[in-house]
């Protein structure tokens, strides 16, 4: 194998008679390492003293702003493009998140502009050989086959596996597409990345996302990382972590490996994999034992800590050591560090989430922060580092088996809400789905429209399992793997079998991926070349809930097409394009991104995706240098007072000019300026005990106590109804803050200093989950036989749900507990 690759893109560059040197001759001073860098307190760069050659900038060299596509930190990328060729990459020193920095991946994104190894044109397998075909042929053949399967086995026999590599607009369109096709058999990588975080965290205090930001870590007095290795997975975040560390914050890393992050830790604790719960409860044991908990915070803002105390009491240091392998002294040290250095931040990644008891782990982490009163404060929070560049946005808006965009769920009300936004007839939409009723796993019968689809982690079983064990008409017969690497999923030998059993396998990806080679299929397999995010434009949501706008760097390479165009072509072929794109302009089969952003703004009230219009996002992108690198607030300039990326929730309509919420649940600011309370999401009382906050409210709130979520009725009770305009009243009547399309309910609540979603306590007991208070259970494949019986995996009842019998009941449980936001 000869791997020497001398030049950049021989094909692209030479075809157009261009070369990089042309650029260099004309390149001017442009940004430079210079003045901008020295303003930044820890950029630690200085201007080159060398005599710069004075050159004039020729107009045809464009400097284009984009965002790295490799992880969720959201690093700004500056691309230099001449005549359509990406000829240079410069550090984005003035970008508030990365300050010019990149990791190995970010520093090499320009290579994607060459794409030597890309899938270059649509291909299909004929007799086991790959043959080039046209787009039209591909869409026609695939579409015909799908319609045939739909006819024979119903819409649920086609599985649409989407991606966190889509931008927000494409993710949203993908979810909408599946709705119009008539199935919830759609999902994406978030399921196998942070789904347990989203479920665990949202069920603790309302929203399932990173609460603070990478930059806010500057304010931390202690940093705890468990099951995360940011030095390799999120290297640029280490810049912010080091800043805190160099200001004196101890860095505790809990990981079974001495990772590259652990190498820089003040304390590294090795735990036996899969024992996070006893470890955290063991730390809480020391905290309670020494009365280090924040009693006032718990009284005002936490429900159920007493139950936690009971569970914690049994995790004495000796027992913890037995199970986790961590000594009393080590754990005491870590607990003491966190208790005496406040506020402290708590960071976790896949090491905590990808477990059979992942939801217990994530809730244990939250409880730890609640006990110390580290929530809703700068420097504190649960800073959950997400994976892909737009996995947060795709989770919020996109391909999910258990919910419509914005975590509205799948109940009839949710469908009606979105049908209204889409301006289509609900009955027509409903008619797209299988009409039969199926066991939902609890003995009740439902339509598949109202049941969670098969999750991405289990599509294999949807193909291989006996038909009668699946709550849908037939097995999955066609798979569309759209921006998904199947080698990120477990059980490859079974996956191979599953792929081989399919009637139709379609891969839509910039690269052929493992899906092209793992199986031994010979026919009915298609590879369609998709464009990367540098070849299109739109918004994305980074881990810290900040939205950023990417401009298009280059035209789609070879015959590749952007995801939204391919979606349109499929919709057209499958016969629902007119309905689906009713309010989205389509030109030459390419839907207009801005129209999709508008539609997202129109419908996504639950998590505040309503205020981030494309105009505001584009303006922020042009002015990213005006944002403070710690607080992320714009200081002066056209975005004055806004937070970078208008981090969601960015309440109300854009006319309200909400600045975004940089830190969730921070009561020291008014809601109108990014303050927040814990969400009242789980009712107002439980067993006669109030779930609403006590004596705690966000700054300037007119209600000085806990309150439930806002609805038209509540406004009337409070006497605030008449503050709505007549037009707002019309739309708001009978609605609540999530479904009022006028935004009036949110506007009036915020005007009175209140959070639209109420003011409640965070809860330590999630009564709908298998383990209401997080407990330890040994992994299914444990290396400690002596522990297996003591800390069993779920009993028979839950064990059966793991196996595909009642496949939908596993999913059903998800929707029942509002795993959503």
């Amino acid at each position: 194998m000869k791997l020497i690759k001398r030049s950049t893109s021989p094909s692209a560059a030479h075809q157009k008679n261009l070369n990089r040197r042309e650029f260099i001759k004309h390149s001017g001073l442009a940004v430079g390492a210079s003045a901008l860098a020295s303003q930044l307190p820890f950029t630690m760069m200085e201007k080159a003293q060398a005599q710069a050659t004075q050159l004039t900038n020729t107009p045809e060299i464009a400097t284009i702003k984009s965002v790295c596509t490799h992880c969720s930190v959201g690093c700004g990328v500056i691309a230099e493009v001449q005549n359509g060729v990406w000829i240079g990459q410069e550090p984005a020193f003035d970008h508030p998140i990365n300050l010019g920095a990149h990791c190995a991946k970010g520093a090499s994104v320009r290579e994607h502009g060459h794409g030597d190894r890309r899938l270059k044109y649509p291909m299909k397998q004929i007799n086991g050989q790959w043959k080039r075909i046209t787009w039209q042929q591909a869409i026609d053949e695939i579409g015909d086959k799908m319609l045939e399967i739909r006819q024979q086995s119903g819409p649920d026999s086609v599985y649409w596996l989407g991606s966190s590599k889509h931008n927000n607009e494409q993710s949203y369109l993908f979810r909408k597409f599946a709705a119009f096709w008539g199935s919830n058999n759609i999902d994406h990588q978030a399921r196998i990345c942070h789904s347990t975080t989203v479920a665990g965290v949202a069920n603790t205090w309302g929203y399932g996302a990173m609460t603070n930001s990478f930059n806010d870590i500057h304010n931390s007095k202690a940093i705890l990382i468990i099951g995360g290795n940011p030095a390799e997975a999120h290297p640029v975040s280490m810049q912010h972590i080091f800043k805190a560390k160099e200001q004196g914050a101890p860095l505790i890393v809990i990981d079974p490996r001495l990772t590259r992050t652990a190498a820089h830790a003040s304390q590294h604790i090795r735990l036996r994999p899969g024992t996070d719960v006893p470890l955290i409860l063991g730390m809480l044991w020391h905290i309670f034992e020494n009365h280090w908990e924040d009693k006032e915070f718990i009284r005002q803002r936490v429900y159920g800590m007493d139950k936690v105390r009971k569970e914690v009491a049994q995790w004495t240091p000796d027992k913890v050591e037995q199970v986790t392998g961590v000594s009393e002294n080590e754990l005491y040290q870590a607990a003491k560090t966190m208790a005496t250095h406040k506020p402290g931040t708590f960071i976790w990644c896949m090491g905590g989430t990808q477990h059979t008891i992942g939801n217990n782990n994530t809730r244990a982490y939250c409880i730890f922060q609640l006990a110390l009163g580290n929530m809703g404060v700068a420097g504190g929070g649960t800073n959950i580092f997400r994976g892909h560049d737009n996995v947060q946005g795709a989770t919020d808006l996109g391909p999910n088996a258990h919910t419509l965009p914005g975590y509205y769920g799948l109940a009839e009300g949710a469908w009606k809400h979105w049908a209204t936004v889409w301006d289509i007839d609900f009955q027509w939409l409903s008619g797209r789905f299988d009409k039969a009723l199926y066991d939902d796993g609890t003995g009740a019968n439902k339509r598949t429209m109202n049941m969670s689809g098969i999750p991405v982690s289990r599509w294999i079983d949807g193909i291989l399992e006996e038909k009668q064990n699946i709550s849908q008409q037939d097995n999955i017969r066609a798979m569309v793997l759209w921006g998904h690497a199947p080698n990120s999923q477990t059980r490859a030998p079974e996956m191979k079998k599953a792929m081989e059993k399919l009637d139709l396998l379609v891969v839509v990806d910039p690269y052929p991926s493992n899906s092209a080679v793992l199986h031994d299929r010979t026919e009915n397999t298609y590879l369609l070349p998709a464009s990367t995010q540098f070849e299109t434009y739109g918004s994305l949501t980074s881990s810290n809930r900040s939205l950023q706008w990417r401009d298009q760097v280059i035209e789609p390479l070879f015959e590749s097409r952007p995801d939204h165009q391919i979606l349109y072509q499929f919709a057209e072929k499958l016969g629902f394009a007119d309905q689906m794109f009713k309010h989205i302009q389509v030109k030459n089969s390419v839907p207009l991104i801005e129209d999709i952003t508008k539609e997202i703004n129109k419908g996504t009230w639950t998590i505040g995706y309503t205020g981030q219009t494309y105009e505001r996002l584009k303006k922020q992108q042009q002015n990213w240098h005006t944002f403070n690198t710690t607080t992320l607030i714009a200081e002066g300039g056209p975005c004055d007072g806004e937070y970078f990326g208008l981090p969601w929730p960015c309440w109300g309509t854009s006319e309200q000019q909400h600045p975004g919420t940089p830190i969730l649940y921070d009561t020291t600011k008014p809601v109108a300026q990014g303050g927040l309370t814990f969400r009242a999401r789980f009712g107002v009382e439980r067993d006669g005990v109030s779930l609403l906050a006590e004596d705690s409210y966000s700054k300037d709130s007119e209600i000085k106590q806990g309150y439930p979520e806002f609805s038209a009725d509540l406004l009337k009770q409070l006497g605030w109804w008449n503050e709505l305009t007549d037009k707002e009243k019309q739309l708001a009547e009978g609605k609540n803050w999530k479904t009022d399309l006028s935004g009036g309910i949110q506007r009036v609540a915020i005007k009175h200093g209140c959070a639209p979603f109420g003011n409640a306590k965070a809860r330590c007991i999630v009564w709908q989950f298998p383990d209401p208070v997080p407990v330890h259970r040994e992994p299914l494949y444990s290396n400690r036989r002596d522990m297996v019986n003591k800390y069993t995996v779920y009993g028979q009842k839950y064990l059966t749900t793991f196996i595909i019998i009642d496949l939908h009941s596993v999913c059903y449980r998800m929707s029942k507990v509002h795993f959503s936001a």
Binding site: K120, Q354, P455, S488
Partner: protein, 133 residues
């Protein structure tokens, strides 16, 4: 047995293993083994080793003997693909579309197990047997 990431690659790795600037930096799929476990299995640093999972999958990878992992634990990155149970699948890619670097996927040996609420897969704890290849 546990799994995780490398800085050079992302996710399934098809894109990053196709980028020569990155691919040059990580050219081999490997398994990190503690020296004690390596000695018990009779495997030396740099040798090929079979990692067998409890559900029938097995992969042939390079042994990386290191104290980075403790005794009784092995670690593998999950970004590799293109080899399957000892077989190189390079000739199955469409011509000119094969990533520069191929390797065994660790998920060939990772096993059944899902979160009770979200159906998250278990990729951080499973069991394996090491055998010199």
């Amino acid at each position: 047995m546990t799994s995780g990431r490398l800085v050079e690659y992302e996710g399934g790795g098809d894109e990053t293993r196709s980028n020569p600037w990155l691919a040059e930096l990580q050219q081999q799929m490997f398994v990190e083994i503690n020296p004690a476990d390596a000695n018990n299995a009779g495997v030396k640093h740099g040798e090929q080793v079979w990692v067998e999972g409890p559900e029938g999958g097995k992969i042939k990878v390079m042994a990386f003997v290191t104290n980075r992992v403790g005794r009784g634990l092995v670690f593998m990155p999950f970004h590799f693909a293109g080899h399957y149970q000892g077989k190189d699948l390079r000739n199955k890619y469409p011509e000119g579309c094969d990533p520069y670097i191929l390797g065994e996927s660790c998920n060939t040996v990772f096993t059944y197990g899902y979160d009770s609420v979200t159906a998250m897969q278990e990729t951080k704890v499973s069991l394996c047997r090491l055998q010199k290849a």
